[in-house]
Symmetry: D2
Subunit: 116 residues, 4 copies
């Protein structure tokens, strides 16, 4: 990965600030915008089989990449306004999930697997 | 931010691989899981005013942080299986948005502001 | 309301059947399509204040109406394939909610109010 | 189907009014609540294959039915506050879709099939 998220977060703050968009960027609104983008991401896959979703045509992959970017940009902005470090939060969650789904019990079992 | 996403991505791959969960982790399924978590994130804010969402109680903030982590973990896993670099994708999108919403025109105007 | 949902459900079944779309219409796919449309619905409101969302311009209201229709059409199709009567399900849920949120306790209190 | 939606809509209005919940029920908030419920609905299917989603165990079907009810209840409340007749809106949309996806062209073709 070319960069840490740090720099991206700072650039996003400047981007919103220059445009005086901070007043629109309440956590409530950013969480809405995030799920709207997550819907645009899912839309690409909704009629595909799982196999088809694993073998995207190049133009489709590019479009998916653009939606991934939108989701990440809103997630970063939400973290900015709430003072959350998303990578630290994810690391903590991954550690908690490792304790919750021990390898021997979880292997190959989707039932245990509702939250990671 | 304590870390780049690189390391997190690698740990997630190992996590899924040890549990033999890769077969569940088609892009289609991961995009579904991502939006489900985005819904759990939004749920915290759905009855709040925007002002309330800017001033979360500590326990609420902690719960929100945990949902942010889930969203990021699924986004990273989706990027893993599709070979997308999310930070690079976000940087590209931010550059495109800067061209699309020039500062002078976009200032304070939410109408222009449907996609960032 | 001009009609019961019964007739609409039957017309939707014929619509999908004539186009040989039933094989795409697994419950999994229809639930995905439903949330994608719910995202398009929410998109209209994401940067509005609550007050603005209560006073939509006529063209906006028309666009919202079209998204409402999409959500209902997928909900009906999901009910068709799963054999669920949505109105009966909603009546049962409303009765359960009435027991869960008694008037005296719930009055004006959004905290109690996480699920209806 | 046991009933029209008319009566359900009226009962929902009374339900919210008795609890003084109308002030929480802006279109913006109801659209958020709707997508949150759509996420809880999708959660049941996220790790299933399409085939598994067509053959739900009875307890799972009951849980899905409960989420379907929640989606419909919020959709009805959104229609109430916006003055939308959802069945009429869906009928209009279905007619538009019939013109947009003629049987001969659409048959078996998921590509044409991004919006119904």
């Amino acid at each position: 990965m070319a960069d840490t998220l740090d720099d991206l977060g700072k650039r996003l703050e400047r981007f919103a600030s220059e445009r005086e968009w901070q007043r629109f960027h309440s956590p409530k609104n950013l969480a809405s915008a995030l799920i709207v983008e997550a819907g645009e991401l899912l839309e690409h896959f909704q009629w595909m089989t799982e196999e088809q979703s694993r073998a995207l045509a190049p133009e489709r992959l590019e479009a998916v990449r653009s939606e991934v970017a939108d989701v990440l940009l809103y997630l970063m902005q939400l973290c900015n306004v709430l003072g959350i470090d998303p990578v630290k939060a994810a690391q903590d969650k991954l550690a908690a999930n490792a304790a919750r789904y021990p390898v021997e019990k979880a292997r190959g079992n989707s039932r245990k697997h509702d939250e990671l």
